[in-house]
Subunit: 352 residues, 3 copies
Amino acid sequence: MATQPTQPDVSLFAFAVGLSRENKAGQTIDCFYPTPVRDPTPTLCEAVRDSFEPGVGSCAPERLLSFATRLGDMDPVGLPSGLVSATRAMLEADRPLRIVTLEADTDIKHTAEAYLKLHLLSHRLALPNTLNLKNIFAHLPNVAWTSKGAIDIGELDEALLHGRISGDHLEVTSIDKFPRMTNYVVPNGVRIADASRIRLGAYLGEGTTVMHEGFINFNAAALGPNMVEGRISQGVVLGAHSDLGGGSSTMGTLSGGGEITISIGSNCLIGANAGTGIPLGDRCTIEAGLYITAGTLVTLKDENAKTVKTIKARELAGGSDMLFIRNSQTGQIECRSNRKAIALNEQLHAHN
Amino acid sequence: MATQPTQPDVSLFAFAVGLSRENKAGQTIDCFYPTPVRDPTPTLCEAVRDSFEPGVGSCAPERLLSFATRLGDMDPVGLPSGLVSATRAMLEADRPLRIVTLEADTDIKHTAEAYLKLHLLSHRLALPNTLNLKNIFAHLPNVAWTSKGAIDIGELDEALLHGRISGDHLEVTSIDKFPRMTNYVVPNGVRIADASRIRLGAYLGEGTTVMHEGFINFNAAALGPNMVEGRISQGVVLGAHSDLGGGSSTMGTLSGGGEITISIGSNCLIGANAGTGIPLGDRCTIEAGLYITAGTLVTLKDENAKTVKTIKARELAGGSDMLFIRNSQTGQIECRSNRKAIALNEQLHAHN
Amino acid sequence: MATQPTQPDVSLFAFAVGLSRENKAGQTIDCFYPTPVRDPTPTLCEAVRDSFEPGVGSCAPERLLSFATRLGDMDPVGLPSGLVSATRAMLEADRPLRIVTLEADTDIKHTAEAYLKLHLLSHRLALPNTLNLKNIFAHLPNVAWTSKGAIDIGELDEALLHGRISGDHLEVTSIDKFPRMTNYVVPNGVRIADASRIRLGAYLGEGTTVMHEGFINFNAAALGPNMVEGRISQGVVLGAHSDLGGGSSTMGTLSGGGEITISIGSNCLIGANAGTGIPLGDRCTIEAGLYITAGTLVTLKDENAKTVKTIKARELAGGSDMLFIRNSQTGQIECRSNRKAIALNEQLHAHN
């Protein structure tokens, strides 16, 4: 019996062509990918593998032109929108072309890979907590983000001095490992009142409005539609039709939330200046000004306002149809079923 | 008896000459009016009506020149300061001239009208809640606000790509229907630490200082003098000599305040990280960290610290000389008369 | 006995060469000093005194060149790094050279002096509350900070109009007496997510990360390493390894903290949306959402959770090893020893 010839593995995890900026020592300080691709089709994988080495590389214009031409001849179905035109356009660039071909979602080994994963998140090609972001901090240099673009931190003093001398104003907007998202990608159907508060790597679903007090970290999401006037920490996902009131807080794993990853389901409201250190299910409310942490003792009330028991908030993690208030007469923190929530109450009584 | 000839109605609600920016399809994406006029004098109305059609229009330079010349010949008394010189200067512009003549304060029907009303507010020609802003959201396009000015949201991807290719950095500061006020008007006698937090349409009276954590929405005011380190939501008016502590919150009608419009009288202090969901009169204080909502049960204390009764905060709406604290021994929210406030106490006892 | 010849006093408090910007009337609106010097060595003092008059002055390029040449011939030990090269570079400037020689730390008498003291703080040459800042507000003009640099407030309307006419976008980022620090100095080893929230005059020690919600005023410090996601008010110093949670607040003397200067020792944690109106020693924690003011009644608990007494928080000012919470069952604010903190407990019992 004749054996079938082995089909070459043509799958890729992700692929992108972009432009990078480098410091005077030739090190990459940021990368921009107009049309990153995740899980390219076999046809596109083949074209990529035929044209470029795996991993992070650069590219002579001729090779990129021939790749763009091959793409232009392909069936546009299955090609991400804009990929061909953006690739062609980048041939005109006066800065290094960057090609990244990731065979799998492995630990980050290069700045260009870190930027690609951040792009995947902001392009809505990956949800938070689904990518391997190991070593991301190690591979993101701390950069001065300025009105002239990215400047290596070691070259900033000279740039500031020469801006003053020449009278050509240099504005330094941030000194950070992460740039603001909107200079790289602006997903459709969003409003962002103050773009300095959304890091590249944030996931903003369609219908998300982030007001001036809102904030979304990298690897964090508002799935949309949402009104975000509070802070979505790293790792936190906010579900559809949930709102974060002004100045409200979600605890991140990087900053005090510990090992629990916070998520908030759909149709929730975290009141102004409130906060949560536990994940919430759907249709939950925390009243304005109240902060619930995992260790907070909470008095549970059933739908008839009868006390069920007193437990730590972490035992309520992920529950739905909960209303948290601090009783303004007794100072006691209560969790009330905010409608006839049978599922919730069953869960509560099961703890008895 | 001879009848007097009917005097033609020469009144106008508002008038402005400005410059607009358009997208590639020719749609208006923003308007700038250096010297908008409200309730112009009869003489100015006549000049306007003789020169321009009512409503929103554009204008050939010759017509604007002849209008400017006529204004230059008029008695400068009654002409807004700067109107003639700004009108003449705009003849040099390389972009569309925009003329808006509003006979009455009607529902908004055009982007140029929406911008005019926002200008009236920020030029201190109208207080919040006194203009007809109906349909304003429908007529304000969502725009990318960038270091190159306003860019249509549909044209942004290309602009970002070409900025990268050319090395000419494009900074995207906001994706929003409302621009920041300071790019259009800076009223005299104010300090604004972070201009990204003041929307066009905010009313900042003389003597207003807005610190970095302060925020003022459109159709919202600090009448001045004020120290604003908290958030003034849409519709909210802060009276003279009242201060908003860092991170404090006022509930807006768009975001949870419901149908009550919040206002805060004079000589009030909302503490840091505190908030109010009810309107306050004069000389009221909310202690740092305490959030009062309309439904909060409050224990009233008279000037001798005796409990009068327990009521919902909404029943105290608009009262003066009130001090709100949460008793740090009992957890009870109290409203104390913060001086011998006879008027207040009469009001309180009247509720008995 | 022969008297020794009197040694001329060659000491100076501070010295700087910089570039200033002026309004159309020739008044200084800001100053930039790339390498300010505090307590210059006697040799440098001599060179300075031989070259320039004391106080604030300007300088012809020839004089500065001869000064730079003299410095270049000096032993580089004792010369601040970069002083010679920056001084030479400024000879190329198209704007006024500014020389400031302060013999002592006297009351501020000129804008150039105010800027020098702010530079000393941000260059880590002076800690907060160690400089004489008297009259600083009087000598800092309110300036429009824009994408074209500093613009006199009285010249802004015209600049905005002409920017619109020419199509050359003018971005107005702030109207304030204090500029953002990062346009003047970026100390080594810091991250600043949103530079609009750090004023010139802030002191950021090595290892300080200021997240988007963090804020540091002038004459305020994070000694580093620190994670700052809250607000450090004027006069406040945050010790090493202490963290400010998102939206947390420290009361400043300018805004409600009264005469007490707040400081926070090392290894403290102020939780998200929490705040303090009293100074704290080392290893203190305030739970998320709790605001302690000087007048707050606090129930002290010893290491065995036994109530010691109830006192005003101001009596605990400066104590170490304290944990502040609001009991979620009783609403009572408690101060617990957060480890076997003998020193603390001795202090507490001493109050009995």
